[in-house]
Subunit: 150 residues, 2 copies
DNA sequence: TAAAATGGGACCAATTCAGTCCTGTATTGG
DNA sequence: CCAATACAGGACTGAATTGGTCCCATTTTA
């Protein structure tokens, strides 16, 4: 079916909520669980992931919580998804150092590199501001031409 | 990790091989299994899927086999992947009729529709000819502007 | 110093995915 | 005409991934 994981979706919801509520100090996992109706253990797990990948900052101890590590406009969907799911690599061939030899005469890899980049681009253009404020980036344009043979 | 399934990858390999070998008449599953080193039952399963979705034509009986249903230039990655994995729908919200209410005030759906389209676009521009002949479409361009709020 | 919060793992259940197997039908060369 | 070859269709299994839970340690502060 080719979809992002449910966890990534949750992460987007959580971050949107943090961006919306953030009033100087952190937002707690408990509070987020209540306001998003995502189970607390799951919320905790996700916030930790996002913190480990530099999307969130954490404040320990009583009155602790989480805050965005960067401005909402600098936190985009590509970053969020990569934090939760790992690097976006649509095929085996992409991010492995093992010399993938699935295809005979591999004309394929170059295409995947390109598709991967286009996809990541589409994701990276949408940021937290867009999600909370309802702004929207313009569309990708495609000139329709074809390049000459490799 | 966000990757296409192994089956989709196999399908691409199989179709490339068919496009390459196709000399008027069909190519058999047995032959494809031998030439691609993909296990026969798996090959059979995939060819059936591709046939059901109109990517391949089948000829039954002795001397039977499979042929491309359309010209190689009309068989693109989006079609192939959708045949094997079902429609490309990156989020729950996309292809379901159930009124997905994951997000509070959903500013999200509009973005996913857009990302989905951009992704499918990137896939659909690469066709079987490109894969077998080594030609390559040009890149997606992005003007960097942002549209006004919704 | 107790309560409230994150930190870090291990762990389990459910689903999805990859792959196999079996039985049936169509076609055709000999 | 019939046996061999190939596709048709589905049931089934094992493996891998994902989604989700649980437990206990550490940090901070009212
Ligand atoms: S061998 Fe991996 S993309 Fe070709
Ligand atoms: S409720 Fe599904 S995209 Fe917002």
């Amino acid at each position: 079916m080719l979809r992002i994981s449910k966890l990534s979706d949750y992460a987007i919801v959580l971050l949107s909520e943090i961006a919306r509520e953030q009033g100087g100090q952190g937002v707690t996992a408990r509070h987020l669980a209540a306001s998003t109706h995502i189970a607390l253990p799951t919320v905790v797990k996700l916030l930790k992931l996002l913190k480990d990948h530099g999307v969130l900052l954490s404040i320990q101890g009583r009155n602790g919580g989480y805050r965005l590590a960067h401005r909402p406009s600098d936190t985009n969907l590509a970053v969020i998804i990569e934090a939760v799911e790992g690097p976006i690599a649509l095929t085996e061939c992409m991010n492995e150092e093992l010399d993938c030899q699935i295809h005979h005469n591999c004309n394929t890899k170059a295409h995947w590199v390109h598709i991967n980049a286009a996809f990541r681009q589409a994701l990276s253009v949408v940021n937290l501001n867009d999600l909370t404020r309802g702004t929207m980036p313009v569309r990708v344009s495609w000139n329709g031409d074809r390049a000459p043979a490799l």
